[in-house]
């Protein structure tokens, strides 16, 4: 068991468009001794806030106008650096629980709020987040880290060379490449890389088509794919992210951004494995 004072000092963000809900949850948490509770009613700024502050817990309302909680979840996982994105969704719809878990939430609480439930879920999830953080720190010091593989699908030799050199900066990382999409897909099936970097404008099959095939195949559906393209207007980027790309990078490649993305996607991948199991379960099983 962690020291309770450590849990109570953890950074918490409450996101709800309804002032009354924000106030209520804040009061419940402060009353229980939490000292670092902040809130926002604007879902648009949540991702930026998390990028800066790396919260230990985000309590997220799912039904908000303009940008709903599911969209917020989607963009949050792109900025989580610790690998364990600790989001607790607040929902009045039982059916939303499973969908939120599948989208990366770690747990849920029901609306209308029940104080005991709120406090128990918040405390337990914070404890898990802090334990994961400790574990990660320890791991980083440990010499035997698992070898990870990046597969780069790209027809341009200069780009291949550049990414190969960047990947070599990370210890325990293996680099694979394919010069067209069909070869890339075959290699993904066979080598099961931890992440795929996909050029969009490939000869023959495009990166978009390749993503679709990777998603349809149970052998590759779970592998995060990062898009890379020279022709990127915001609308293309939004469309690509909506279609399932983990992140969208533009050419010429910005090195810091690429390295950050690499770390985020690898951390995401590790945690995704555990979470997916629950998200897949039927939500309609007989009540006990």
């Amino acid at each position: 068991m962690l020291d309770p004072s450590e849990v109570l000092a953890a950074r918490v963000l409450i996101v709800d468009d309804q002032q009354a809900n924000v106030l209520l949850v804040e009061r419940i948490l402060r009353g229980a001794g939490y000292t670092s509770v902040t809130s926002t009613r604007d879902p648009d700024i949540v991702t930026e806030l998390h990028r800066k502050n790396q919260y230990d817990l985000i309590l997220l309302d799912l039904v908000m106008p303009v940008l709903d909680g599911f969209q917020v979840l989607e963009s949050l996982k792109r900025v989580e650096k610790g690998g364990y994105l600790s989001v607790l969704v607040m929902t009045a719809h039982a059916g939303h629980k499973q969908r939120a878990l599948r989208n990366g939430a770690k747990d849920f609480i029901s609306k209308p709020f029940n104080t005991v439930e709120v406090l128990t879920r918040v405390y337990n999830l914070l404890e898990l987040r802090l334990l994961h953080k400790q574990d990660r720190k320890k791991k980083r010091k440990a010499p035997h880290e698992r070898v990870r593989t990046l597969l780069y699908v790209e027809d341009n030799a200069a780009n291949l060379k550049l990414v190969e050199r960047l990947v070599a900066r990370r210890p325990n990382m293996r680099f694979l490449s394919a010069q067209d999409a069909s070869l890339g897909i075959a290699l993904a099936r066979a080598a099961q890389p931890d992440v795929i970097l996909m050029d969009i404008n490939l000869p023959g099959m495009s990166g978009h088509e390749a993503l679709k095939l990777l998603r349809e195949d149970p052998a590759t559906e779970h592998i995060p794919v990062v898009a890379l393209s020279a022709h990127a207007v915001p609308r293309d980027i939004a469309k690509a992210l909506a279609s399932g790309f983990f992140q969208y990078l533009t050419k010429p490649l910005e090195i810091t951004e690429f390295m950050d993305t690499l770390d985020t996607v690898l951390a995401f991948r590790e945690n995704d494995l555990g979470q997916r199991k629950i998200g897949r379960e039927e939500d309609h099983a007989q009540p006990v």
Binding site: M1, T120, N124, A267, G274, D283, V288
Partner: protein, 140 residues
Amino acid sequence: MLNPSEVLSGKILIVDDQPPHILLLERMLRGAGYSALSSTHDPHLVCDLHRANRYDLILLDLQIPGLDGFRVLEGLKQVEDESRLSVLVMTAHPGNETRALQGGARDFISKPFNAVDLLTRVYKMLERRLLEARAGLHPA
């Protein structure tokens, strides 16, 4: 990070006086991939079973005639220190949750519940148990 197969091999004891409930719980857990499941409908056996097997999670129904769940919790605290005890209680009475949490349970599920409720609670409890063991907070 955690390997899901480690979580799924956590040792779980289900305690419920009604055999149909046990069957249903076992089916949900087995369906999700949990492999080390045991169960009993006799609350008097729980402490001895835990002493012998050191479960990673005890799923405890609170309303058992004869020896209620609170008494079982009391007994379990004699077997394992409260800070390590990993008990998830199932209850249909809202007031009982607080009492169980104060009595040594780590979390609760309110009845009626479905597979997502159950699997989310169970996974979280086992995940924490494993991480605590790795952090050296208690023996694995």
